[in-house]
């Protein structure tokens, strides 16, 4: 019983600790409530250039703090989401976007999987059709030999045997 309680307590602590993990330190006040919504949305889709596998909302590196401040400033200036993303790309390259833009160099990235899927389906169709044809040929051969076997001398032999 005692061990059960400690186990539950441990699990509760673990769960709670993960909940508080992803929150940035500074608090900004916005002139409009929708600005705040956009601020948080943009922070989750912009990638921290220094700590490469975090977005700028999760990271607390110097550069992420700067970028959050900059996002706030740009929102308050009345720029839209596309303009803000463009602003970041101009400075840090397309690396800062978690969702890459559709461009010439990202065509393979975006359309490659579709191509692979089509190729797979094509191969599947090819294999299925070939199998089917093979089976059909096989049944044709066996049925023709069956009738051939039964029609000739063997037929007479069988009759003879049965009649005996």
């Amino acid at each position: 019983m005692k061990t059960l309680i400690t186990m539950v307590a441990c699990i509760a602590v673990l769960l709670l600790s993960t909940m508080t993990q992803a929150s940035s330190v500074e608090t900004y006040t916005f002139t409009k409530p929708e600005y705040e919504v956009r601020f948080h949305m943009l922070n989750t889709i912009l990638r921290c250039p220094k700590c490469q596998n975090q977005n700028i909302a999760d990271s607390n590196s110097l550069i992420s703090q700067d970028l959050r401040r900059e996002v706030k400033r740009l929102i308050e200036e009345g720029r839209n989401d596309e303009q803000i993303m463009e602003y970041m790309v101009m400075r840090y390259g397309s690396f800062v976007l978690y969702k890459p833009k559709v461009e010439r160099i990202t065509y393979l990235l975006w359309y490659g999987p579709i191509g692979f899927a089509l190729f797979g389906l094509l191969m599947l169709a090819f294999v299925v059709v070939r199998q089917k044809r093979k089976r059909q040929e096989h049944t044709n051969i066996t049925s023709s030999t069956d009738s051939a076997l039964l029609n000739e001398n063997e037929q007479a032999d069988i009759e003879k045997l049965l009649n005996k």
Binding site: P49, K50, L62, I63, D66, V89, M90, R91, Y92, G93
Partner: protein
């Protein structure tokens, strides 16, 4: 043809394996700079050594020069500093960008370790650095005679980096500038 089809999966696997193997040795921190080929961004900031002096982009002069981002909080910058002094002695103009720092600490740094810079701008909130796409220090930019950023080098500038990447570029820019002035 049938034989070949039999080997197709193996060939595909080997191609994939080759790229994955190569990927193991790539540096994930090395990113292409969006600023290469772009002009140096506009700025208007005071200098560290003379807080009365306001400098702008027009004050950056040279056939080819380096823009070096540093801060007293940055350990790598201390390692890099002696090499910058050597480079400055060889006649290459270097301009400093003091990135997110405290003024007295920065002034003390230049006094203690000597000053390789033509001047150092005091970029306390990191706006110029942000416009340059800087995400850490030290970082060094190579700028040509037309004020175009030609290279961004992230990391400590040492003799190896100088010999392999920066010096060849500096020499080629000097050559370009010479040809340009002849025409």
């Amino acid at each position: 043809m049938k034989r070949f089809l039999l080997f197709l999966p193996l060939i595909l696997f080997m191609v994939l394996g080759f790229f994955l193997y190569k990927g193991l040795y790539l540096n994930p921190q090395a990113m292409p700079s969006a600023l290469e080929g772009q002009p140096v961004p506009e700025f208007k900031l005071i200098t560290v050594s003379d807080t009365q002096r306001v400098v702008t982009k027009a004050d950056l002069k040279g056939e080819v020069y380096l823009l070096n981002v540093w801060g007293t909080w940055c350990g790598g910058c201390r390692v890099e500093h002696p090499y910058l002094l050597d480079l400055a002695k060889s006649g290459l103009p270097i301009y400093g960008i003091n990135f997110k720092d405290e003024l007295p600490a920065a002034q003390q740094w230049l006094k203690d370790l000597k000053d390789p810079y033509q001047f150092t701008v005091f970029d306390v909130n990191g706006r110029l650095a942000l416009d340059l796409g800087v995400y850490g220090a030290p970082e060094t930019f190579v700028v040509d005679h037309k004020g175009i950023i030609r290279l961004r080098y992230a990391g400590i500038l040492d003799s190896i980096a100088w010999k392999t990447t920066i010096e060849p570029l500096v020499l080629s820019i000097k050559e370009e500038a010479r040809i340009g002035s002849l025409q």
